[in-house]
């Protein structure tokens, strides 16, 4: 049962070293290159994807009461895939039935299975890229990276953190208490790792694998059977994941039902029924604050690990390289049309302008600089499609249309030739304008006029603390003010990137290095992947026995 563990042990050890070093590390290549993945991998991924379309999706042995599925590619076509779907009670029963064997298998067997699942997912990265692209609207390059290797990195990170926590204390110890001149009291103690219970992973529309893998793999590794509830519009990437996982589990003699797919239909979601069942003890959730609030109010039997919405900010206090700053921000705003949880929304700029390497720039010149950079970036339609992709959910377009009335338009949004798409809308507002007081998910950004640089920092930090923020960016040249900003954003619980230019963006969060989401503001109570993300997924229960002196 531990052959996979032995096989993947070098990966586990290298990943563990990386986890505690926090430098750059990845074992799953992010470049969709034939030289890495095999010259035929790209074509095979495409044909494998095409073969799934319009067909029933096979999940051997999976509970099934009916077939469901109505995915529509943001790039056009209906997927037409019919997934096995089962009533919540049946899924919960099957999950419960799988629990004892998964718990008894022990950390090595479970971690070995997880590592093998990840390795197989990596080999399927081109198929998953196509599945991700046509459910999320991500352009292919991003769908490959974020849906494939980067999501696999996140899964591996969670497995390693879980492994380290499970093995942090010994499984047995001898306790020997001196008794003066008498013989010592001796006890042999043993600890069993006891999983929390059924784990529910609630996937999102935009990053079905990237956001779900940490919870899925942390739970599986620590012995909790997982029910994967995909967003009805983004089932396929997680259905493929569940299929691979079930195959590996069965191969090592574990119950395939230790991971289940909970497909439902829009308007008839089963999430609430699953989430409030007494047997569900862990919930990993990515989505709106409204549903997060609902979960916290109603799923009180479960521990909830949540990533929710927030208002990510950019504060422009000064710029050591104005042109590069504008280009960098343009990319951050345009990438996947602002649908990343890490994408900036509110750009705080002193109303009197800023100092730059090009001399003083007025607020208007700063706004114009960013707008022009977006235009330059998206001038070529093919490149624009490759950066912005499509809009995952039509509600985002409605929100965007509404947002156009909310401020002075600095740069208007427009569709791209391909798919349901929209380039960034850039609006000018005064500080305190309610339009920029909360999240406006999608390709919408606000340039907020502030009193001065310190006011800009204070406002950006305040909205991070109040509304939540996963990222914050700062451009500045004044080291004292940078130090003040570091303190302000730390207190607001927002990870801060300073003076990014070139090919690195505030949107990017690297596994094994950045702790994604701090857990310290309303954008999330969980951080990928820190100790708290794994430590309560299982408990240590002792048996101790006296040893004759």
């Amino acid at each position: 049962m531990t052959a996979f563990f032995d096989h993947h042990r070098p990966t586990l050890e290298a990943a563990r070293e990386a986890l505690f070093a926090r430098g750059f590390w990845s074992i799953y290549p992010e470049v969709p290159s034939g030289r890495i993945y095999g010259e035929t991998a790209k074509a095979e991924g495409e044909s494998a994807f095409a073969a799934l379309l319009g067909q029933p999706f096979t999940l051997p042995g999976h509970p099934e009461d009916r077939r469901l599925g109505a995915e529509l590619s943001p790039f056009g076509p209906e997927l037409g895939i019919a997934y096995p779907a089962a009533d919540p009670a049946r899924l919960l029963d099957a999950s419960q039935a799988a629990a004892p064997a998964l718990a008894d298998a022990g950390p090595e067997a479970r971690v070995g299975a997880c590592l093998e699942i990840l390795a197989r997912l990596n080999r399927l990265s081109f198929l998953i890229a196509n599945a991700t692209m046509h459910t999320t609207g991500q352009a292919f390059a991003m769908a490959f990276q974020a849906g494939g290797p980067h999501a696999q990195d996140r899964g591996l990170e969670a497995v390693v953190m879980a492994w380290d926590e499970m093995t942090r204390f010994p499984a047995a110890a001898r306790w020997e208490k001196p008794q003066g001149k008498a013989a010592p009291i001796v006890m042999d103690k043993h600890w069993t790792l006891v999983p929390a219970g059924i784990a529910l992973t609630i996937g999102c529309n935009t990053f079905p694998t990237w956001n779900s893998y940490p919870g899925i793999f942390a739970s599986l590794a620590t012995g909790n059977p997982v029910i994967v509830k995909p967003h009805p519009a983004a089932i396929l990437p997680l259905a493929l994941t569940v299929r691979i996982a079930r195959e590996v589990l069965a191969e090592v003699g574990l119950p395939a039902d230790a991971i289940l797919l909970a497909v439902d239909a829009p308007g008839a979601e089963i999430t609430k029924t699953l989430a409030t069942d007494q047997a569900v003890r862990l919930i990993d959730y990515t989505g709106s604050n409204a549903f997060g609030d609902w979960l916290r109010a109603h799923a009180r039997q479960a521990q909830i690990f949540a990533e929710e919405a927030g208002v990510n900010t950019v504060t422009i206090a000064a710029s050591p390289d104005f042109a590069a700053m504008c280009d960098n921000l343009a990319f951050s705003l345009a990438l996947y049309s602002g649908q990343m949880c890490t994408a900036p929304q509110n750009i705080y700029v002193p109303k009197g302008g800023i100092e730059t390497d090009q001399g003083r720039k007025s607020l208007d010149e700063v706004s114009r600089g960013i707008a022009d950079a977006i235009d330059r970036l998206l001038a070529d339609p093919a490149r624009a499609a490759g950066v912005a992709g499509a809009i995952a959910n039509s509600a985002t377009l409605a929100r965007l249309a509404e947002a156009r009335k909310a401020g002075r338009i600095l740069r208007d949004s427009a569709p791209l030739p391909e798919g349901r798409s929209a380039t960034p809308l850039l609006l000018a507002v005064e500080a305190g304008d309610p339009a920029a007081a909360g999240e406006c998910f999608g390709p919408v950004a606000f340039v907020v006029a502030c009193e001065d640089a310190d006011d800009a920092i204070a406002r950006a930090a305040a909205i991070s603390a109040q509304k939540g923020a996963i990222t914050a960016a700062l451009y500045d040249t004044d080291e004292d003010r940078i130090a003040r900003a570091i303190r302000a954003f730390a207190r607001a619980g927002a990870n801060l990137s300073i003076n990014l230019t070139g090919n690195i963006y505030v949107n990017q969060s690297a596994a094994f290095s950045d702790f994604h989401v701090t857990g310290a503001n309303p954008a999330g109570n969980a951080s990928l992947t820190d100790t708290a993300f794994v430590a309560t997924r299982f408990r240590r229960v002792m048996w101790r026995r006296q040893v004759a002196a």
Copy 2:
């Protein structure tokens, strides 16, 4: 600011080693001996205690709106100590004001202060023993151990676990991502530890220091200011603790208000007001399930670390040493009159009797054996007082009187000559009797007649899972059945002690070795002291800055 850290570093390192070895370890001697604590220590402790009686309690600089205090020793006298008391809003303001300096001090300064506080508390162990004795009703020997060194062990354990978690990941790292033939992207990353917020510790009547120190020290070490809310009947041990802590904090230049005392009067408790304030983000609670449920329903802004009630069980399936078993159980039942959270209550025995080293014993003979052992243990009044102590809360005596009607009396309870006291009541009931279906806090135990040994194990494990259990004891000689019991109690989340005899008892839970309370059943969601107990008391927030290639 880190002089104390440097001074106590050897203690920290030895304790850290012990934490991960889980063998016996303690730095605070548990024997109240003049050779260890100084020949005059006992007398000084007594006179220091006497000097406090009938006086205002001094807490220099502490917020104060009035004086409160109506403690009554279970051994008789009124304490007559008047403590400074302040309105919740004033306490919360003072705590908030102390937060930034405590957060900014960093782990070394805070951990150093905590270690110094513990060292000074240790030197005051005789005073704290008297304070504990006359608020809890513990006999002196237990009050010294549990109120002093063992509580200090727990505090140290929490500090070390917090230290290890705070230093588990580096404070800074360089991230260098290769870019093929181009220069790598280089980022310097830094992480600030950001405390969760105000921590509220809600103390209990029976173990004011032992149960409160883990939360207090875990929160202080991780940078959260603490408001200590003692039980109105057991203020003094925590007031002394707060005084020492404030002295040390002030000496190292930290705000004394990083730890505050929240004294209230019975019937006018301020706990709910404090617990539901938005600034309170951590609650460490020991007490009833009813108030625990209230906290979970209302203090939703806070993380709650709770130790609540449960039904601890003994299962007697067979006995390799009948006489020693009866003596051992008699002591566990009589010790502090069953008022320990670890004390057994329900004794499950096959109705057909058991095999023992003395031959087969009927159910009646087993019951008689335990009852007689209690009688023997308590025959000498002085020894009885030293074991059983007094009853902390008069409600316990009322419950005991009620319980006498609940089953056939195998051994009746009786007062001891000294204090408000009661020896164990032992009752016989049938399996399924509602009298034994929940916790009956105090010196009450039930012998529950079961079908057979496996039924006894199943019933004991089931009540542990349903009602919660901190401990479970098993006596058996059948190794296969022992293995089944180990699995059953592990699933029920109850720490199991097998065949204890002699000078080691199921009630005892050792710091650095046993994880006290598993967190895996309704008796508590927190374990002293595992990773989960510290990991969410702070968060890591990053700032990262691009390094020119």
